[in-house]
Symmetry: C2
Subunit: 217 residues, 2 copies
DNA sequence: ATGCAAGAGTAATAGACATTACCGTCATCT
DNA sequence: AGATGACGGTAATGTCTATTACTCTTGCAT
């Protein structure tokens, strides 16, 4: 280990007193917003390793200390912000699902809300991209926003139970299939410069998806 | 301004005499193999920024100079290796397509060869992951292995011409759909630790895909 | 032999950035 | 007022890595 000051290492007084991550909920909500906005703006522009926290701090008009105090690390900061956004998508989805009876329509809605959300919030998509590779290859926990993913799982399970979904493959595979399609569609939509609105094509696209995942006749 | 890119700084001062990238084909094929093997081994384990070229050089039993002489940069090294692999997949695909008449079978083959390839070459998939995020957000050129992607395009075009493919959406969207599904399936296959062989499920999965992309009856 | 070119090995150069430490300033509470 | 604590600003600290330079060895063609 790189010894900082030689006298520190062997004294009895170690116990680093891990910088006491303050409860994030203590953070002034207005400040929190500014921070998450800066995270969104900056991390969505540059890749993770090219972003410096100083820049983020400046962008949010807070000091570096504040960030470290409430978030603890660069990664945590990114994931926290991401989680907030996924939560918003999740809430919106739950909200929109209310009052829909027909199962296929429910699924269509899940699909639609997702496309619509990313189309409205381009930067969030870039943020997702920034973290996906940091994430997928390590822990997944951070990516499991219960509201959002829970809803996906629930709707999927309901279809399974009703027997309207394809049951030749495992449920996980079905989910992979769906995410794969959606993720790529959204990703390429941005890659091509946001032309040809996705939501406008949502129904055609959804019918394609539905033919794939519904139980074949 | 704090712009990072170190290589762009020189205003008018010097004509760096850019280190004369030697023709890569001059490189001893056996050495080249060792290098690309090391790239595969190492880049597939750690993320791009965590890989040091010294390590790669050691792993390949070559000196750093050799790498810089023939490849020029870390990124170029990675992409070169990746391109080799995509080329292999492409060749194999072309080879396997020979003698198939039925269009749907052709497409099925394209699908199968891809899954099979990544299942056989796990590290290549990780390599792809390592570069996707470096890539997609910038230039795409590197990712356009003509043999591989050309084949995809050709097969897709053929189906369009025959009128068997869904023509409610743009051809690009169709391609996105297909790649999205395949990419995610493969990605998650690894993420879950390579259980439940993909190729064994290839036909069920392909039928799902086919229902989506073929012209609806 | 002699010279040469290729490549190994090692160190030098240059930045970038996460994370910590310190210091000064206010607002709020007692 | 005095104390407390949160926070801004700036400057350490400690690492890491690309990329370049330089020196030495060695196989090999003249």
């Amino acid at each position: 280990m790189g010894l900082g000051t030689a006298s520190e290492e062997n004294g009895a007084a170690q116990e680093r007193e891990a910088p006491a991550l303050a409860d994030r909920s203590q953070l002034d909500p207005e400040t929190r917003l500014r921070i998450e906005q800066a995270v969104l703006d900056i991390f969505s522009e540059r890749e993770f390793h090219r972003v410096g926290l100083i820049e983020v701090a400046r962008g949010a008009n807070v000091s570096l200390q504040t960030i470290y105090k409430y978030y603890g690390s660069k990664e945590a900061l990114l994931f926290s912000s991401l989680d907030t956004w996924m939560g918003k998508l999740g809430s919106r989805m739950i909200d929109h699902l209310q009052g829909i009876e027909d199962y296929k329509e429910k699924f269509r809605k899940v699909f639609w809300v997702s496309l619509d959300f990313f189309e409205r919030n381009p930067k969030v998509m870039q943020l997702v991209m920034s973290s996906v590779y940091l994430n997928t290859w390590r822990k997944q926990e951070t990516f499991q926003n219960p509201e959002l993913f829970g809803t996906f799982i629930r709707v999927l399970g309901e279809g399974r139970a009703k027997g309207v979904l394809n049951d030749q493959v495992d449920e996980k595979i079905l989910l992979d299939y769906i995410f794969g399609v959606m993720f790529r569609l959204v990703q390429m939509y941005f890659h091509r410069g946001q032309r040809e609105s996705l939501t406008k094509q949502a129904n055609v696209l959804f019918e394609m998806l539905w033919r794939a995942i519904s139980k074949p006749v």
